[in-house]
């Protein structure tokens, strides 16, 4: 491969790569926090266990 063809592939390819990296990084972060938030919400919304009247 010559330098000029390499340039064409590199110049656009770096943005394909950046797009993939950005997607992976952002998606991973978002997923992790949304999961954590949902878990925290479930804990809050979980109904209290009925009390045993005999106690």
């Amino acid at each position: 491969m010559n330098g000029e063809l390499f340039f064409c592939l590199y110049y656009g390819g770096i943005y394909v790569l950046l797009g993939i990296i950005a997607y992976v990084l952002l998606n991973r972060e978002f997923k992790k926090h949304v999961r954590d938030d949902d878990a925290a919400q479930d804990v809050v919304e979980e109904p209290a266990a009925p009390q045993d009247p005999t106690e």
């Binding site: 000029e4 340039f7 110049y11 656009g12 943005y15 950005a22 926090h33």
Partner: protein, 543 residues
């Protein structure tokens, strides 16, 4: 008065009206410094691009490509534009959380240190002043060409417009006009390409004719012109070192420099920062690729434009229809003025907020009241100084700006990313690593300029300065320990803002990387079709 002068005058009037109107909306320091921290994606993108693509881009860098180094420049440019995303993800979002007014203000608060803040303020003022001089030179040169008046008269007109604008407008006005100007010069780039190509025979002949030029052999080669009277860059090794060095420098500059990262301080939320960090490189690449490739083909018609900074303007004035000439000159003028205004504003902010205020040590209320008026006075003084220095300094639009960029890269790279990502970083390591970076770089520059020192191609002085800064960071970190306050502040920086994990916002933000992937594929296909195929055809003719 020529029709060009009328077009330029109209541009100035629009610019001043916007500045005046937005200036009236400034009610407090937050409005003035960071536009109320409420800017949407389009304004942040417009501002990021407009403050980056100044006359340095449309005159200095386009001139560099025209002179024979198109592909080396594009290699560097393609790489460094990724710095926008690096900056938004690994720096910008965190300083937005810190709610700082300026980047030196952030450094000072992060390490609870006046000396760190003052030193960062001094670096900001010196670096941005160099950049301001370079951009003012370019804008005044342009005006001289368009109006046919003397350089001094052009300089005074440019100075009056940008100084009066930024004294009254503040960040809100800057954001609005920068976005407007970003739109103007994007449209300019899209419209002017076919006209420029037509000058040298239209596509693909324009590229073929340029490749066949015997006086500038290698105009479209990966390493540019390497022989003959137009070779100014030495050997292919020099070119590779240049590409690597300036790619790294500009990645750092686009990530953490005050005129880029400060835009994130104005963003509405973290999603705005991510989106801007992904949209900005695509816009910048689109505009620059079109302009640089097309202007380089002008060589087939006229390869002796002097100074090379005038390559684009000279083409617009001599070969374009009048209406397009006005659009192009107006577009470049817009880019220059918006950058002048941005740099003057940032220097004024830093001088008032990061150097004068901490030294004077007023009580909080008085400091805030003083800061707004002091900023305006500082901007007026900075503008006046820039006028004097620009008049005395011979034009070197691109190289002065590159010096300023390097100054930030070598002194701020370690403290910028370290302040977010290093748990061990202390106030001492922040201060000494920054001082070492700038000190070593300046010493080498003095030795090269005045003592005739020459560095080997494989070891540029920028790397030495950066390595020294990095070494000091490690050594000082090893002998000092971060305080409990340091650790608490770092923890706060890593706590997301409230709406960051809103599902609807996440879905929209994740669309941007997908668009970027498609953009990258289109760029490869476009380059192979519009550049590589005519290039190989011309090379076959040569053999």
């Amino acid at each position: 008065m020529t029709v060009y002068a009328i077009g330029v005058a109209a541009m100035f009037i629009i610019y001043l009206v916007i500045g005046n109107v937005s200036g009236r909306a400034v009610k407090n320091v937050d409005d003035y410094y960071v536009a109320g921290r409420n800017a949407p994606t389009i304004l942040v993108v417009g501002s990021l691009i407009a403050s980056y693509l100044s006359t340095v881009a449309f005159m200095g860098e386009v001139g560099f490509s025209y002179s024979g180094y198109l592909l080396p420049f594009m290699f560097m440019y393609g790489t460094c534009a990724t710095g926008y995303f690096v900056g938004s993800k690994f720096f910008g979002r965190f300083i937005r959380r810190a709610k700082a007014m300026t980047i030196p203000d952030y450094f000072g608060t992060r390490f609870r240190s006046t000396r760190v803040r003052v030193l960062a303020g001094i670096v900001t003022c010196i670096g941005l002043f160099c950049y301001l001089v370079s951009v003012t030179q370019g804008t005044a040169l342009l005006l001289t060409n368009v109006l046919g008046v003397s350089y001094l008269v052009s300089l005074i007109i440019v100075w009056v417009v940008f100084t009066s604008f930024c004294i009254f407008a503040g960040s809100k006005g800057i954001l609005l006009t920068e976005t407007l100007m970003f739109l103007v010069f994007t449209v300019m780039a899209l419209i002017s390409v076919p006209y420029i190509m037509k000058v040298s025979g239209g596509w693909p002949d324009a590229i073929i004719n340029s490749v066949l030029l015997t006086e500038k052999p290698g105009l479209f080669d990966w390493c540019g012109v390497m022989s003959g009277e137009f070779n100014t860059m030495g050997t292919p090794l020099d070119i590779v070192v240049w590409i690597v060095t300036f790619s790294l420098i500009w990645i750092v500059v686009l990530s953490i420099s005050p005129w880029q990262a400060s835009r994130y301080l104005m963003a509405k939320d973290e999603h705005t920062i991510f989106r801007a960090g992904l949209a900005a490189p695509m816009c910048a690449i689109l505009v620059c690729t079109l302009i640089h490739f097309s202007v380089t083909t002008i060589n087939a018609t006229d390869m002796y434009i002097d100074p090379v900074e005038n390559a684009f303007i000279s083409t617009a004035l001599h070969y374009f229809p009048v209406w397009l000439g006005i659009v192009v000159c107006g577009g470049i003028l817009s880019a220059g003025l918006s950058s002048c205004a941005t740099f003057t504003t940032l220097i004024g902010f830093s001088l008032a907020n990061d150097i004068i205020a901490p030294i004077v040590k007023r009580n909080k209320g008085a400091e805030y009241t003083m800061s707004l008026s002091t900023s305006r006075i500082c901007m007026a003084i900075v503008g006046l100084l820039a006028l004097i220095v620009t008049y005395c300094q011979p034009p070197a639009v691109m190289w002065i700006a590159y010096f300023a960029a390097t100054l930030f890269a070598v002194s701020w790279a370690v403290i910028g990313f370290g302040s977010i990502w290093s748990k061990k970083m202390t106030e001492q390591s922040a201060f000494w690593s920054m001082l070492t970076g700038i000190g070593v770089f300046v010493i080498f520059q003095l030795l090269i300029t005045f003592a005739g020192l020459t560095m080997p191609a494989w070891l540029p002085e920028e790397f030495i300065a950066f390595l020294c800064s990095w070494a000091v960071f490690f050594i000082v970190n090893a002998v000092t320990k971060p305080t409990a306050e340091d650790e608490a502040y770092l923890k706060m920086l890593h706590t997301p803002l409230p709406n960051t994990y809103d599902k609807k916002e996440i879905k929209r933000t994740l669309l941007y990387p997908k668009i970027m992937i498609a953009f990258g594929v289109l760029v490869v296909v476009g380059l192979i079709f519009f550049y590589y195929m005519p290039y190989t055809e011309a090379i076959a003719m040569l053999h």
